[in-house]
């Protein structure tokens, strides 16, 4: 077990390093000079050169890379070069709770829709109830999420005025301000994954229902909702756990568009704005954060899985 763990963590670190390297060089392949836009108004080429020097962007790329990697190993992500010059670490620290809040809540939303939908779909295949629930689960997956988000805003903020239209309020300022700002983003991002999770639950429920014990119960007409929820569901959820982990990680990325609509500066928007402004350190930092979450959750899920289901060997 320990050896397996060490190997997996080493492997994850290796991938992280590769990601970091790839992003470093690929970002610089993007056409567009971050300093050009900043210095456009000065009209002074010498000033742009000075700034380039001050930011250490005048040395060969390999040297820049080495410097950046060295800094990274010391936990220093550098500073934003476009405008703010804020430390990237601070930007990430601010963005992370926002994105995690959205992702966490949308996960809850997804489960609220998906678990009943999946169970009913497995129990009563092609019944009207199955069709209705599947439709609901799939609607989220089928709507472009920015559109869905705008429809929500128009209904719940502009017309009904139940919820704030935009923005984020940290948890430290109270539960309701935090929660009310997140309801719509969570619905917009969460329904996307409801279909995926519902489909997983449905198929693994069908598997579980085929086990002798439940098949017997079913044939004798003894299959009650209690048996279903207490015995069948937990077993059915085992394979689903893996997908839920992945879905959570995917939701982090899925919040990109939603964050843009709701004016919440989370990881996704930090990343997009970084790419648009050619703000290299910010993009590098944000990508590392996103992929760390991806790789990390992947790892945790794998380990969790071996705990839940001992049949899986550490290979």
């Amino acid at each position: 077990m320990a050896g397996y763990l060490v190997r997996r963590i080493l492997g994850a670190l290796l991938v992280m390093w590769a990601v970091a390297t790839l992003v470093f060089f690929m970002m610089r392949a993007v056409p567009g000079d971050p300093l050009a836009a900043m210095m456009f108004d000065s009209g002074d080429p010498a000033a742009a050169e000075d700034l380039r020097k001050a930011l250490g962007m005048d040395v060969p790329l390999v040297e820049q890379y080495a410097r950046w990697l060295w800094q990274l190993l010391h936990g220093n992500f550098g500073t934003s070069i476009y405008g703010s010059q804020a430390p990237v670490r601070q930007l990430l620290a601010e963005a992370l709770p926002r994105t995690l809040s959205i992702a966490g809540l949308s996960f809850v939303v997804a489960c609220i829709i998906a678990v009943p939908a999946g169970i009913v779909a497995a129990m009563r295949k092609n019944s009207p109830a199955d069709n209705a629930l599947t439709l609901v689960a799939f609607l989220g997956l089928s709507m472009p999420d920015f559109w869905f988000a705008i429809l929500l805003i128009i209904l719940f903020a502009a017309n009904l005025q139940w919820l704030p239209a935009i923005g984020y309020s940290p948890l430290s300022e109270g539960f309701w301000p935090w929660f009310s700002h997140l309801i719509m983003p969570a619905i917009a991002a969460g329904t996307t994954f409801a279909a995926i999770i519902a489909r997983m639950i449905r198929s693994s429920m069908i598997e579980v229902l085929k086990t002798d014990y439940l098949r017997t119960a079913r044939s004798k007409g003894l299959l009650t909702w209690r048996i279903l929820l207490v015995h069948a569901l937990p077993n059915a959820l085992i394979p689903v756990v893996t997908v839920m982990g992945i879905a959570l990680a995917l939701m982090l990325a899925g919040t990109v568009v939603v964050e843009n609509v709701f004016a919440i500066k989370g990881l996704g928007r930090t990343l997009i704005e970084g790419i648009l402004n050619r703000d290299y350190p910010v993009v590098q930092g944000a990508i590392l954060a996103v992929s760390a979450i991806f790789i990390g959750s992947n790892l945790v899920v794998d380990l969790l899985y071996t705990v839940i289901d001992p049949r899986i060997r550490y290979s």
């Binding site: 050009a36 836009a37 000065s42 405008g83 804020a86 963005a95 935009i166 923005g167 984020y168 004016a263």
Partner: protein, 593 residues
């Protein structure tokens, strides 16, 4: 352009009539409009002087004669104002040396001060300067500084701060606006509250372009101790100034929080306790936020024009439009066919014989600007025929719309196209037009108009702003859709855009290949230089208009429109007229009902 409709009690009609009569009581042939040089010196150019100048320019309206100042204070002091800043995802910096967007100036104008500040008529008024004196030769400005002014960090404001700001702004490695100090030879401290600026030559725009606080001008006063203590980066996010509000929190991409500065030099201001500013990138959520009352006022960038009518219809909201200080153009590359013009330095009659010029003029003449404004901006804006905008009321030339060679005339445009060898657009190449993402809709309208009017096709190429700006300055393009904002003084338009050596005029071009950028005309260059140093406002105005006319007739660009500034707030917000400075959102007199 201002359309305020909620005027309450009419002012004393007699006083208004008297002011009107006095303003017009001059000999129209007198270049100084009956004003003395003393009236042009500060604490502000006298009100009488301003009115006379406007009357002379024909821009004086009854609205200008309403009593100035926060006369109609409807709300009480106190409270929190929540604002949304349109079209922006994050306020990247608030350091005046680094800012280049109006939506940033709008915030710092509430936090930082300059020696002068423009008023709603774009006239410089005393701010941190108590008053000033101009030497007879027009090259020395001596400022008496306001005493008892305190920075947000508690430091007293003295002449040393002006010196520090000057040194900092002069350094091109620190300030992107350092060029604006090009005409300043030096600064001298005459006492703890007295400084003198020595200019290399007279500069008419000095008080509006150099010492003004708002639009990222070079002499927005900062405090050395504050920068040393916070460091450049942190200070750039939360600069320390002497303004009515101080920044207490700046969460990048989320909000900027301003709080009332208790020791502001004017105890009457500000009225609000707190202002919260949220950047909101997408248009629909912004509109929903003000409808729902999550925010009470919209500032920042341009609001999607299609949403404005909906907000106008909302009874809880007040929407006012005002001429915005800027111009928007379509630039035609004179180094490429079919717009090729080897030199603009010849009389119009001769230029008119060149095919490239015919095409340039044909495109400019085929631009149905009224239709464009109706279709693309839903009726808000003013047709442009030159770079001088209507917000600069005194300099703006209304006649240009009627007399410019660029004025809309479809028959003439078609004739020119035919003469250039492209009858009904036949054989005309499909040209690429470079634009930034926010311009997409506008360019679609321009395409449709030119296709219908001249039968020519354009292919839009959308590039992110950093890439587009870079490409624009290399002159490697057919057509570009770009424009200027925050032009409070004629220098911002003609010096920055229309001279051969202008800031934006093909700075990064291959100078061996292209002798000039998008435009170069010796006569215009000379006129622009003359107006820059002309101290007499009347004479300056004439020079500005002459230069504007040449750039218009010779099609430096196909001028499209002057945008409107739209201010939207809820009824509960009282935003007095005196604060309605074009393109700014000064909240020092704003109250909540």
């Amino acid at each position: 352009m201002t359309d305020h409709h909620d005027r309450s009690a009419p002012p004393e009609v007699a006083a208004m009539q008297a002011a009107w009569d006095d303003a017009h009581d001059f000999d129209p042939r007198d270049p100084l409009v009956g004003l003395s040089r003393a009236e042009m010196s500060g604490p502000q150019i006298s009100r009488r002087g301003v009115l006379r100048l406007m009357a002379a320019a024909g821009t004086l309206t009854a609205a200008h004669l309403l009593p100035a100042g926060p006369a109609r204070a409807q709300g009480k002091a106190g409270g929190t104002l929540k604002c949304g800043w349109a079209g922006v995802g994050q306020i990247t910096t608030l350091d005046p040396a680094r800012m280049n967007q109006v939506l940033q100036f709008q915030i710092t104008s509430n936090v930082l001060s300059g020696l002068t500040h423009i008023n709603a008529d774009l006239i410089a008024e005393a701010d941190l300067a108590r008053d000033w004196e101009l030497s007879a030769d027009g090259t020395e400005y001596t400022f008496n500084l306001r005493e008892g002014v305190t920075f947000h960090n508690g430091e007293p404001f003295t002449a040393d701060d002006v010196l520090f700001t000057y040194e900092r702004s002069k350094n091109p490695a620190v300030s992107i606006h350092s060029r604006a100090l090009g005409n300043v030879k030096g600064i001298e401290k005459l006492g703890p509250h007295k400084v003198r600026f020595k200019l290399a030559g007279p500069q008419a725009s000095f008080l509006v372009k150099t010492t003004e606080r708002s639009s990222g001008r070079v002499l927005t006063i900062l405090n050395k101790a504050a920068i040393d203590k916070l460091g450049e980066a942190a200070h750039g996010m939360m600069p320390v100034g002497t303004g009515p509000f101080r920044i207490t929190q700046h969460t990048l991409g989320q909000s900027v929080v301003l709080e009332k500065f208790d020791r502001y030099y004017d105890p009457e201001r500000p009225k609000l306790d707190r202002v919260q500013i949220q950047p909101i990138l997408d248009a629909e959520p912004l509109a929903a936020a003000i409808e729902a009352g999550d925010i009470q006022l919209i500032g920042g960038g341009q609001i999607a024009p299609e949403l404005i009518d909906r907000l106008v219809a909302n009874k809880d909201l007040v929407v006012t439009a005002q001429a915005s200080p800027g111009f928007e153009s379509i630039w035609l590359n004179p180094h490429r066919d079919p717009f090729k013009v080897s030199s603009f330095d010849k009389p119009i009659a001769e230029l008119m014989k060149e095919k490239g010029f015919m095409v340039r003029l044909a495109i400019a003449k085929a631009l149905d600007r009224e239709l464009f404004i109706k279709q693309a901006e839903f009726g808000r804006g003013t047709p442009a025929h030159g770079s001088i905008n209507p917000a600069m009321a005194f300099y703006f030339d209304k006649e240009l719309a009627k007399t410019s060679l660029q004025r809309f005339d479809l028959a003439e445009a078609k004739k020119l196209m035919a003469a250039a060898g492209y009858p009904d657009g036949k054989g005309f190449p499909r040209l690429k037009v470079l634009l930034t993402p926010p311009m997409r809709r506008q360019v679609e309208v321009v395409r449709a108009i030119l296709k219908r009017n001249l039968g020519i096709e354009m292919e839009p190429v959308v590039k992110d702003i950093p890439v587009a700006l870079d490409e624009f300055s290399t002159m490697e393009w057919d057509m570009v859709r770009i424009g200027s904002g925050g032009d409070y003084d004629p220098d911002d338009a003609i010096v920055d855009w229309m001279q051969t050596s202008s800031l934006f005029n093909g700075q990064k071009r291959d100078k061996a290949k292209y002798p000039f950028g998008y435009f170069s005309d010796k006569e215009a260059d000379a006129l622009i230089e003359q107006q820059r140093v002309e101290g007499n406002l009347e004479k300056r105005r004439d020079l500005v208009r002459k230069a504007d006319r040449i750039t218009s007739d010779k099609v430096a660009s196909a001028f499209l429109y002057h945008p409107a500034t739209i201010l939207i707030h809820r009824k509960s917000v009282n935003f007095p007229d005196v604060s309605r400075i074009p393109a700014l959102v000064d909240l020092d007199r704003t109250t909540l009902a």
